[in-house]
Amino acid sequence: AVRLCRGRALLSRLRGAPRALRGLAAGPEMHFGFQSVTEEERREKIYQVFESVAKKYDVMNDSMTLGIHRVWKDILVHKMNPCPGTLLLDVAGGTGDIAFRFINYVRSVRDRQLRMKLKHHQSLSWQEIFENYQEDKFNSLGDSQVVVCDINREMLKAGKQKAQHLGYSEGLSWVLGNAEELPFDDDKFDVYTIAFGIRNVTRIDLALQEAYRVLKPGGRFLCLEFSHVSNPLLSRLYDLYSFQVIPVLGEVIAGDWRSYQYLVESIRQFPPQEELKAMIEDAGFFRVDYENLNFGIVAIHSGFKL
């Protein structure tokens, strides 16, 4: 058993060297957290992880990040700055956090638009004002739409329930689909987002190519994901917190140690900021850039299809 350990360790170190190739998954061996598995096994295991965490996903997010994940998602949508009429595809959107924020944002922009419009119409007759309100009532989103796409049925189910509970129905649709092979036509969407999802995709390069395909020319790609902390002291504290506290939280709150162990390991395995930027450029995006949040614990990558 010990010799086998050493062999595996060597393999992982060899694999560790050409990290840029990891996204292309040259060989059959891949990583699942710190374990090495085949591509098919990885997809299967990740599916099971999210199947089991789906119900407690939001509670766990709040406890692990002490609620800060909400701020990160807010920043993403603010960066997106969608105007009414935008068509958004939120991939790996699971429980709908980005979609709901998008709807809220667009609604408030629309409200402001309407108010500005009415301010300029000071001398309208009552009939005209009435007509204005009538047509705008059915357009509170201004034709904006968001499609939430996720590979996992349980996550979608949880998302739909949440939408119903919070009262979101207009301009929202839920689609079961794989980020590596999206069930949409070319040149369809204005914005593509993937928040905390790309880390779980087995072939990141394929997902990026698909993102490029389904975006309209002029469309924007936005990716919110855990990334690498360069500050050494902070990095050690972060590691300590991740490996010592998070699986414990998973066990105590969700009764599931292993899924959260996978979570923190998968963060370590994910390419750092510059590498991801290169991969996005490889897929054909221009003006690719990234913004670190919280010293690199999280990063938002952005690119345009021109």
Binding site: R8, G16, G33, Q35, L240, Q244, V248, V252, I253, R268
Partner: protein
């Protein structure tokens, strides 16, 4: 061999890439038994605290009670294991590792045994309270394979405790059994459960508990020999009364 493996659960091994190799070994190869999750001392401490809070907050989280037992049992479990080793019947149990599960129990045969026998009363207890021995959590955080069996045995024998003490599975009955087990095993989880369990009881029940049941449970616990040293699976025909006398449990009030 046990301590050499434990070395790898040092938290210092957890940094980024350097630790990757060790962690990979740990994940795949340092599992001492199926379901084992190796944990560092810090993780055990956090788990103990977290599970204690969660168990009190949500009494239906039996898995939290189990985790609490595993993470705090590091002194009591070796003690129990040694008690078993030095007793002929206990030693046999450690060797043969019997498991109490519905698949291994022949419930129809047990039901056919005369009233008052251990087997008959045990099956009656399971049916009356609608419980099954299969719902016991397997251990995860015990870092020794033999101790993991000891705690597993303790969990599976719990229902037999109920039968021997004549206590139902309501809150009151559970607390009484916990007091007995706390005295018998010294497991901190039992002590905590015995101390904090009554918090949720009405004052009338508390009175009965304090004046009659707990003193009896303590006296029996102190007087009785180690309950884990009884090979229950070979004593189904024995009358409960006789088994009580043999172990040293006083008749229930």
């Amino acid at each position: 061999p046990g301590t050499a493996r434990l070395r790898h659960s040092d938290p210092r091994g957890w940094d980024g890439h350097g630790g990757e190799e060790e962690v990979e070994e740990k994940e795949g190869w340092h599992r001492l038994y199926p379901g084992h999750i190796p944990t560092s001392p810090l993780q055990k401490a956090l788990l103990a605290a977290g599970s204690a809070v969660m168990a009190l907050y949500d009494p239906y989280r039996h898995d939290m009670v189990a985790v609490l037992g595993e993470t705090t049992g590091c002194l009591a479990l070796p003690n129990l294991r040694d008690k078993m080793k030095h007793h002929p019947e206990g030693y046999r149990i450690l060797q043969e590792r019997p498991r109490i599960r519905l698949s291994t129990l022949d419930t129809s045969r047990l039901r056919g045994l005369p009233d008052g026998s251990l087997g008959r009363e045990y099956v009656r207890f399971l049916e009356d309270n609608k419980v099954s021995p299969d719902t016991r959590m397997p251990p995860k955080f015990v870092d020794d394979e033999e101790l993991a069996y000891v705690i597993q045995r303790y969990r599976e024998v719990h229902d037999l405790m109920h039968t021997l003490l004549g206590m139902p599975t309501n809150m009151l009955g559970e607390v009484v059994v916990k007091w007995f087990e706390a005295v018998q095993t010294g497991l901190p989880m039992c002590v905590l459960g015995a101390a904090f369990g009554p918090v949720r009881l009405s004052s009338r029940k508390l009175q009965v508990l304090a004046t009659e049941l707990v003193p009896w449970a303590i006296r029996s616990g102190l007087n009785a020999s180690c309950v884990l040293n009884v090979y229950y699976e070979q004593r189904w025909e024995q009358p409960v009364e006789s088994l009580r006398e043999e172990i040293g449990i006083f008749p229930p009030p």
